[in-house]
Symmetry: C2
């Protein structure tokens, strides 16, 4: 396609916020914007908010709609990529919603849809910390833990389009339900749950003070601040989480012989390199064979933008799979 | 190539036995043979035994050497597939041995080399229980536990050529060293070790009688017989092993969204469907998302022949990678 029609728009649809950005033909992020999701207003309202955000982006970025090659959307939950349907998204309460077709009709642009974690992984692969690597595992640690796989330079979705769910792999086979999986043991929710439990049974920690006793305020930033201030309980729980995450990464790399692992998500972004180094230490003692210690484990480079950048870049590569635009999609450009 | 040059020979090199077979153009096993490895006589002697076995096969199968397109060898340990080198095989005490080149020179035929578990996985994929599936995890349970991955219809070796090492994935992150990995918990060696330990601390079992107190005689067949006779201790330990194997398969399928898992190896061959059903039960309660319960978990169809059949069929597909034959290899035929 000509460079004039080479803009791509990426949308990262989350349970709380919708983030979107415009990329030029070189993959440079020209402009970004966001709005609240307001999922409680229903699917129609959310789709309209996405469309409105895209319209606003086009205007504010000063580009013409006819020069936009594609819109890529990353959405939470189970996605049917080929049909562009959100099959099931618990936090949005969506079931079988044909998001790509609906947005394509509304916007008059080709729209592709993929899982939010997959687009984040693609972002770090195509334009972030894993650039240049054909085989990448990206793991995002926040409220939950999700993962995406790039194998042989392509997003690997697996037969049932669910690949990458490293958060649900079991690290303590004999533990009770709720204490077995990586997500049970190393997500921010798990860390905070355990922290609150321990504080309430009188283990000393300054976290209670930091949030005025309001536990819902213990976000990644608060954990990072408590750790930086040397709060022993927070440090111990973060060490435990690094132990489990390092073990889970070792398992995945042992199985897949992957040369590059990117860690992203709210908790990693807040804790940064010191915590990633803890994860690396545990990984190194547990991966097999030991030569896989060569695998690089790096923090993501795109932070919160990984999703929208990945969604836009992935839209450029999977355009032939786009649905329902009513337009004849231009030949996709390799990103 | 013409059908006249379409024979392929597969060799499965083990620590105890060398097995080999001739396949015709349709992939039918025409003739098979075996001999002892006698690794203690050194690498030169073993290579000569392999070559002798191949020569004998050609004569006994009544085919002409000029009609053999390729010889595929599966060997234990770390393999450099591109160079056809056994990098390190602990049980053979081989280091950096250029097996493919040496055999190719000796036989005057193109020779390819791959890991024994990979060729077994390829056998079940191309001609066994996973035929027709493009994405397959094959797991072989015996003295140790090895695994091979077929993704998108191709053997997936990973960046460091070590992919598939499911036996070394960790299922009890907090257990002591030696009690963490799938191999620690569900291999025949692990089961027998635990069994002996328990019998020696006076847990009742008829296994001691079956082997006249000679523990080294507790092979897979003995465990299968004790289980069939209802020996409670054997049944409990096999249930434990199924629990761990089912969990490890759930982890791998959760990560990779794989539609077909083949279970092979001495222990699975001996215990058969009843034990595989136990593995399936545990798998079903632990895979995520639950829709991956659709993944079929099946016993291998080729038994002990999986390796030699896979080595022969893989040689047919990877012939362009063959080394050192001194001949111009014919165009490979897709198997």
């Amino acid at each position: 396609m000509s460079r004039a029609t080479a803009y791509r728009i990426g949308v990262d649809l989350g349970g709380t916020n919708i983030q979107a950005g415009v990329l030029d033909a070189d993959g440079t992020l020209l402009h970004r914007d966001r709005c609240k999701t307001k999922a409680k207003h229903g699917a129609e309202a959310v789709l309209e908010r996405i469309a409105g955000l895209v319209e606003r982006l086009i205007v504010d970025a000063g580009i013409e709609r006819g020069h936009v090659a594609a819109v890529g959307v990353g959405a939470p939950g189970a996605i049917d990529v080929e049909r562009g349907v959100v099959v099931n998204a618990v936090n949005l309460r969506w079931t079988d919603l044909p998001v790509a077709a609906r947005l394509a009709d509304r916007l008059g642009l080709p729209v592709t849809l993929d899982n939010d974690v997959n687009v984040g992984a693609w972002g770090e692969h195509a334009a972030g910390a894993a650039k240049g690597h054909d085989d990448v595992l990206a793991v995002f640690v926040g409220t939950g833990i999700g993962g995406g796989l790039i194998l042989n330079g392509r997003l690997y979705r697996g037969a049932h389009c669910t690949a990458g769910e490293i958060g649900h792999t079991i690290l303590n086979a004999d533990a009770p339900l709720g204490q077995r999986t990586l997500e049970d043991l190393a997500s921010r929710s798990a860390i905070v749950r355990r922290l609150v439990q321990l504080i309430e049974s009188n283990h000393p920690s300054d976290v209670a003070e930091r949030v005025g006793g309001k536990w819902e305020k213990v976000r990644s930033r608060v954990l990072a601040e408590a750790a930086a201030a040397g709060d022993p309980l927070t440090l111990e729980l973060l060490d435990d989480a690094a132990h489990y995450l390092g073990t889970a990464l070792a398992n995945a790399v042992t199985l897949l012989s992957i040369p590059c692992v990117v860690l992203g998500g709210g908790l990693v972004d807040a804790l940064g390199e010191p915590w990633v180094e803890r994860v690396r230490e545990r990984y190194h003692t547990r991966v097999f064979p030991p030569s896989l210690g060569e695998t690089s484990i790096v923090p993501g480079a795109l932070g919160d933008d990984a999703g929208l950048i990945g969604a836009a870049l992935l839209a450029g590569t999977t355009l032939t799979q786009s649905v329902g635009s009513g337009h004849h999609p231009p030949t996709p450009e390799k990103s």
